[in-house]
Amino acid sequence: MELAKEKMLELYRTMFKIREFEETVAVLFRQGKIPGWLHCCTGQEAVATGACAALRKGDYITSTHRGHGHLIAKGADVKKMMAELFGKKTGYNKGKGGSMHIADFSIGILGANGVVGAGIPIATGAGISIKRKKEDRVVLCFFGEGAGNRGTFHEGINLASTWNLAVVYLMENNLYAVSTHQSRVQKTTDIAARAGAYDIPGISVDGNDVLAVYNTVKRFAERARRGEGPALIECRTYRWHGHYEGDPLNYRSTEELEEWKKKDPISRFKKVLLMKNILSEERDRQIKDELKNKIAMAIKFAEESPYPEKEGALQDVFCELV
């Protein structure tokens, strides 16, 4: 199905916003302005963008340690994200979570998660609530191919399949679990074969093709919404950066990276938009300037925000609300 022009431009904008966010925070991290660790998703923007664009505002997502893209695509406020990365009081989590734990309940983001594969049972549980309350929602569960070898993958999907829950499991396959190539730790990479074990649909798509991701997620999200149960989607992609900023990257070749850069999801989609006359070079520059400005404003907000008071460490251990 051909998407409306505005929707196409929105996909493009979101991908560039993620790219700009990631490339900027990587620099800030090197400058020592962002503490802790940073896992950037540069190169994988089409997965987050296409998948979240196929959802509704009330739908849930669970995200991962490499979650900035998912959050931006689901509509998170980049100012509050940036402030959280800086450890500031105005951040999403009041500075208590950092990059790997950002959540925004108001738009269905059940949280990034620092533990590989931990989001799978959590997404399954959200599916339990949806089914019981007969809500018109679905859950999109992002995880990497590394998580596919955790027990949570088997247990979580088995339960969702058995109970027919409205969860779409999306494996974002960027080929490397930290340094370990997928081929070194599993014999089959056939996602349909794995899905078959749970009697659910399984499909593999080009994760650098935003429209392919969008269409596939849309199809299976709507299927789940109709009460027809979960599905497993693999999006094949590649991360341009290391596992974390500062990764020595001694486990892959620059040739491999260059090959994948030729499949850059953003410039690929730009070509499509130019060809269809949805985008002009001038409009492209405008969009990019706008978004660069937005990220710059987010940095300004984060830099100017105060750190939390140290006593804040003692708050929120328990929920006091009855």
């Binding site: 999403y92 989590n93 059940l110 399954t124 979580g156």
Partner: protein, 325 residues
């Protein structure tokens, strides 16, 4: 007053809370058709249907992990992990997900989750892998509440409170207590967390005991009465929050403290209690506190080995006699 068993008390609490609040759901291994491995959920599925009382596969990680997700999205799950020794299977979901979610999201997310877990202690030849007495594992995790009832009345009142709490609660039940009967207050009642129960008042020594050890302590107390030793017996009922004030006040009165728990002694809840009493009431102590705990061994199978490894009423009597010496 009505008399019911500890297992019936659990069922009644769940029945009442599920009737009161349709967001309360119950699931775990064998909790539905079978009525629970120890019959603590008997009749619930018949009454509330299989959308609110669900049998799960043997997937402890996902039982707790999905309960975290369900709790974050408007359900109030009460899940069962068949034995407390199996809590290690789902430790990440308890300690790294449930316990930290509210905190690390800056208070955005609440996780109203109860993990009920029956304990197999001694006397059952359950051997090492089915026994752990692991409450101290959870005491060390900020963000978890811990309840450990010893009587039917406490089991019911505390479980109802646990279900209504917006934090994750690890709820330790005891297989050797399930068939024990006790009086239950008429009508609706709950028991607040962090309120210890002074079971017996006394002047010579403070005896703090949890779960099954409360019953062994009662036997010891009666025996010591014959020697004119007056024991103040306290059951904290919850370990987090812990009613420090009641214990410290008692120690100020008696000057002596014995703690009886089933756990392995090293790194135990009993050790933590000892530590804060020494820190906060050292000047009131007339003798070093004493712990009556299990041996630091995996629980062995053979009956003589097993009974040697877990604490009993005679150990409590001796410990009290020693602190009074």
């Amino acid at each position: 007053m009505r008399e019911i068993t500890y297992a019936q008390a659990i069922t009644e609490a769940l029945y009442e809370e599920m009737t009161r609040d349709e967001d309360v759901i119950v699931y775990g291994e064998d909790v539905g058709i079978y009525g629970g491995p120890f019959k603590a959920t008997r009749g619930l599925q018949e009454r509330f249907g299989n959308q609110r009382v669900m049998d799960t596969p043997i997937s402890e990680t996902t039982i707790v992990g999905s309960a975290v997700g369900a709790a974050m999205t408007g359900s109030r799950p009460v899940v069962e992990i068949m034995h407390d020794a199996f809590l290690g299977i789902c430790m990440d979901e308890i300690a790294n997900q449930a316990a930290k979610m509210h905190y690390m999201t800056g208070g955005q997310i609440k996780v109203p989750l109860v993990i009920r877990t029956p304990r197999l202690g001694g006397e059952q030849q359950a051997a090492a892998q089915h026994t752990a007495r692991p409450e101290a594992w959870f005491l060390h995790v900020p963000g978890l509440k811990i309840a450990i009832p010893s009587t039917p009345s406490d089991a019911k009142g505390l479980l109802k409170t646990a279900v209504r709490d917006n934090n994750p609660v690890v709820f330790f039940e005891h297989v050797l207590l399930y068939n024990k009967k006790g009086e239950i207050p008429q009508g609706e009642y709950t028991i607040s967390f962090g309120k210890a129960n002074i079971i017996r008042e006394g002047n010579d020594v403070t005896l703090l005991a949890t779960s099954l050890m409360v019953h062994k302590a009662l036997i010891a107390v009666q025996q010591l009465e014959k020697e004119n030793i007056s024991v103040e017996l306290i059951d904290p009922r919850t370990l987090v929050p812990f009613d420090k004030a009641t214990l410290i006040n008692s120690v100020k009165k008696t000057g002596k403290l014995v703690i009886a728990t089933e756990e392995c002694k090293t790194g135990s809840v009993a050790a933590e209690i000892c530590a804060f009493v020494v820190e906060e009431a050292f000047d009131y102590l007339d003798a070093p506190p004493k712990r009556v705990c299990g041996l630091d061994v995996p629980l062995p199978f053979s009956p003589p080995l097993e009974s040697f490894s877990v604490p009993n009423e005679e150990d409590i009597v001796q410990a009290i006699q020693q602190v009074l010496r």
